[in-house]
Symmetry: D2
């Protein structure tokens, strides 16, 4: 693991997610740019001294010299945004598979370099757009692919948070500080931190790509350098219209990611804060409440494969995150055993989603500064 030292939110989530299913073991790490903190963190995680590294460069060096079977197979990059690219690049070059946090990089150019590297090396690369790991998101995607909703006409993706409603970054809040600092977060604030999740979710579930958009970005909290609120009109290939709004100044909201998709046959609604429920809305009969649970045989194969326990036993954020790690682990195992990966598990956000995410950010920022209504969204 690169990053994720003591007190880091997302690093800890990555560790729990990787540990949950017993398929992945944490064997080494460089947990901080500060060698002391890295050591301290590693010890707290019960790692042997010799595999707690002071820098990720050192770690890649040392691990690649270990005999196969002993060395780490997979590295998780869980640093702030600006430090995703360097270790991810080096990991791929050194022959390690990579799980990287989002947004993948801070520029589209970096993103495309990683894309090329992944294509050239053929290594696994997973990007933790973790919300696509939820069983009901798999269910939604499959139902749309199967035509249950008919032709998609409208998509509404909403991601209100309120935790940056005040100038937390000025109060020494670690999470807030780097996310609002262009040098660490990159060119986008809320759009990069959560807007890309909403974009990725909308495209993953509908199977449609956004073709053009019109963005209004706000820098609402006085003194904030990066966007903390954004409202976007969407046009999808094939003609569907949509709205995406994401905000970190929607005061009093927690992590209220919502998705509404309307076709010409049915509509659906999903809310991340109650992730085990999916509503399927019909024009002529009662709305169906789809619910997670290994006992719900009416669910699609993929939804069931990403569920662990019977219905009514809620699975949450960590389980969804773990689904990405488990899919990577199972896909990796198939490869190592020379087997064809199971498509149901070979299903996690990858380097192409990362490129698309960075293209989204550049498009949104360009649209935000433009007087033209529509800005085309292309990732190639």
């Amino acid at each position: 693991m690169v990053g994720g030292g003591i007190g880091a939110f997302i690093g800890d989530v990555h560790r729990k997610a990787a540990a949950l299913d017993g398929e992945i073991e944490l064997v080494c790490g460089a947990f901080s740019s500060n060698p002391e903190r890295s050591k301290k963190s590693g010890r707290q995680l019960y790692l042997p001294e010799e595999r707690i590294y002071e820098t990720y460069e050192q770690m890649f060096e040392a691990e690649s010299r270990l005999p196969e079977g002993e060395r780490m197979d997979l590295v998780s990059v869980v640093t702030p945004n600006h430090m995703h690219f360097p270790p991810a690049k080096m990991a791929l070059e050194k022959g390690f598979h990579v799980v990287c946090d989002k947004p993948m990089t801070v520029t589209l150019e970096e993103a495309k370099k990683l894309q090329k590297l992944v294509n050239d090396t053929g290594q696994l690369f997973a990007l933790t757009h973790n919300y696509t790991g939820y069983p009901m998101v798999k269910q939604a995607r499959q139902m749309i692919a199967d035509g249950s909703l008919g032709t998609i006409r409208k998509v509404v993706a909403e991601y209100p948070q309120g935790w940056l409603s005040s100038q937390l970054e000025g109060e020494g809040n670690k999470q807030a500080s780097w996310r609002t600092d262009p040098k660490k977060a990159g060119p986008a604030g809320a759009m990069g931190d959560i807007g890309t999740h909403a974009e990725n979710l909308a495209e993953y579930v509908t199977g449609l790509q956004i073709s053009e958009l019109c963005a209004d970005l706000g820098h609402v909290v006085p003194g904030r350098q990066l966007d903390d609120d954004g409202n976007i009109l969407l046009r999808f290939e094939g003609g569907a219209r949509g709205v995406l709004h994401a905000s970190q100044i929607s005061i009093g909201e927690e992590n209220n990611l919502k998705l509404f998709v309307y076709g010409d046959r049915a509509g659906l609604e999903w809310r991340q804060e109650e992730p085990n429920t999916l509503l399927l809305k019909h024009p002529d009969r009662p709305t169906d409440i789809y619910r997670t649970g290994v006992d719900h045989e009416y669910l699609t194969e993929s939804a069931l494969a990403h569920t662990r326990i019977p219905s009514g036993h809620p699975e949450g954020f960590i389980e969804a995150f773990a689904n990405i790690y488990r899919n990577v682990a199972l896909t990796l195992r198939s490869r190592l055993e020379g087997k064809q990966p199971d498509p149901i598990h070979n299903d996690f956000p990858d380097v192409d989603d990362g490129v698309r995410g960075m293209a989204f950010l550049e498009t949104v920022i360009s649209s935000g500064g433009s007087d033209k209504k529509w800005t085309p969204f292309r990732s190639v």
Copy 2:
């Protein structure tokens, strides 16, 4: 009453709303452009033959010749949009007070003529943007006016319906037919029918006016002449940003009007389908669930004045509609008694809201056809 013959949805709602509190009595009507249907409708309503009129012109004539106290005081115009202006204008000219359905007219020009007429005659004119009659909407408006939310930063108004997802107007559905016919509905479809409600609600609750907007209108169902879907970016005076989307092709949705307002101190959420609940969201303490009920002394004076029964006894759409009629009746009574109207009841959408609604429609349509991102929204 003008319009609202047998089988008309909204005419019947107006009658029930007017009857609910025993302050208004239906004494006469011209219920249809078809004299036969008008007669038939009047009889079903137990009106005396002589006060069931064949045309509204005839009604205004005859009623104005009746001695005061016997003649009607107030006329309700509940015809399709294109027939709002003529009877409303004549009623005002003949000295009757008017309750008119929305949108007020089919052009901004007509709207301004009514505005001038109301200002000149001093008669009462109410526009049934009925959603502002809900107690929790009064509560929300008052809390914002009192500063409970602080400075408003973001407003999201959503109005998804699904009933026009298919080409109902081709299947002889009366409600669908006139609403999708430019000659009867005017220049706007979904925007006129429900978009204006969302605009009126957002401005009424926040006390802020939209200063510019960016609209993407859709004519989604094949063969439909008017918009049936619209997504709009909003900018408010004072700098708040917002999103308004309204749709009649959000399949499976019923009448799911929702309002979210975020300030720098707190946020609120209200949903018309569960109108007796209002959420107040705080950055640092649990969300409050405000609920209607005459026993809830924590509610504002205005919310209590628009509630009839104790908490847990749901009040609905008709009660909210009736609040507008009751406010008109009580305000009218005060005038007749030469008293100062109670500001709590002298609170209903009026001719200025109607002008603003028509300006909104013209702005939205113009923005929808424009390549420029922002179109200013002015009603004067």
Copy 3:
């Protein structure tokens, strides 16, 4: 109308409910045991002086002397419980039809006298167990009658309120005072006021009668003479088991009447505070959300006949109450026109429900005082 003077909660609800659909007109009343208050109340209701009576005896006398067509047809008895029997009895004897509030009387003996009188005179008698007027309750009853739930196995009826959690009757609260006074409320407190609603609802929806029960009644608030909390085990004819608990000391609860019914094929859930939704729960497919609305053709004929407006336009407590008045009015009209009443409208709680309610109260009180587990529940 008998009772329901200024400030009375339920009298006002009766008037609004009767007025809503324009089928019933308030023509006279004796609104209070205090002649002054009766006069004052009548005037506020715009009644002619000569038809505002000082006593109900006087009213029945005077009205029965009026020519048919002018005299009132139907009397509403909305007094405190102990004053239901005398005016109801006299009304029936004088040839008037009756709508009476619940519980019907204060003793089973009185109830049976009214039952005999109704059977002998053949007049209409309706008891306002208003919750059975909700469209979704009609839907639930019909689905069970149609076998959609299969054989009923378990019934849970819950009616928590919190408004009597403190000794309001000691603080001059009019509603609290008579409801907690054995001389006015009769032998039961919460059980009479709301427990009978839960019993009536459970039996109406399931079509099953409770055959025996085991009650634990509480007099929780110090100084209270009547029960304010009750928990009851139920056995139904045919073997279904159940639980009924009703309380007025469930602090913080509003009017949270809930019904859960489980058969061997499906289960259902209904909550009065969100009355337009009914959940149908299946063992092997997603739960269905049934919703009121004249446009929902999937609803039963009876549910549709008790709905006024399209889906998503909430109908509430008053509309449900009005369904009982409208059913009485339409049934009465059929009779007056010598027609067979429409069974869909000839569906309202009647004198037999009233007898059953009083038998329920006597059974519950007897069980509450007994060491035996089961007490049989018989109404004949």
Copy 4:
């Protein structure tokens, strides 16, 4: 680990729960009464051959011979009910700490033997009444202990499930088979499987013990030997009344454990299927929505200590289960380090809860067969 071989539901949950926080490592196991299955299961879990045992006796023997630091510290007993007592007893005798699934044993006598053994040996013993591991349950318990609800007056604990609505045990369903077989499940069915959870939750949250009860047990599904439905009236020490009903034939219900507690100052509501929300209901102000989240500083220290991630990132069943394992691990570590255990983590269901659970079952069964209304509930 004892039990929990391939395909076992609860054993897998135990493993994930133990793994989640990286405090506990699975080092050995006897996963099945069938040596082959045990081996196979162990290999799937990546255990070394020599520590996959054929029997638990063999495991305790071998492990106790290993040097400290290498041998297992803690054993999880996750077998069917009738096989809890023998391995738990032996583990304690051999000096291992124990985590045992519930119900603790099949007789009160066995339970008391374990209780004595724990008291004599001073070893840690945790019983996985996992629902008490939820942060909002900790919050509720603390608020009641702090007097926020005042004196408790009424408690309603409901646990409807529907999965045994049909005769699954006849269809080779492994979970259903042992749970409905008196030889494996013990004397109680639904009451043992979930009724004890409801009893434990009610007593844990309120801090009150049930003093007497009146039970009506049903054997609803034809051919079923054990209870599958139970409705119980409760009396608590101090005079509070309550209702507990638990069922596995409430068709269409998933795992709908709910708790309602009403005091003389406030009330609360918690639902396991949406476990991150706790409602605090007041007589005179809006209901508060308490929500989990490490960022919610308004939560009690204990609720925060049992939460991992920020608000709006749902934590579920496995996280609650993991809270019990983490508390055991942290308490054990404190002991090993000779420190005073942190009372916030030294908080998990123990052998006394297990004794109380068995006493509850014997009391419920005895009451179910009795004509007397009340049966005293004593665990000593």
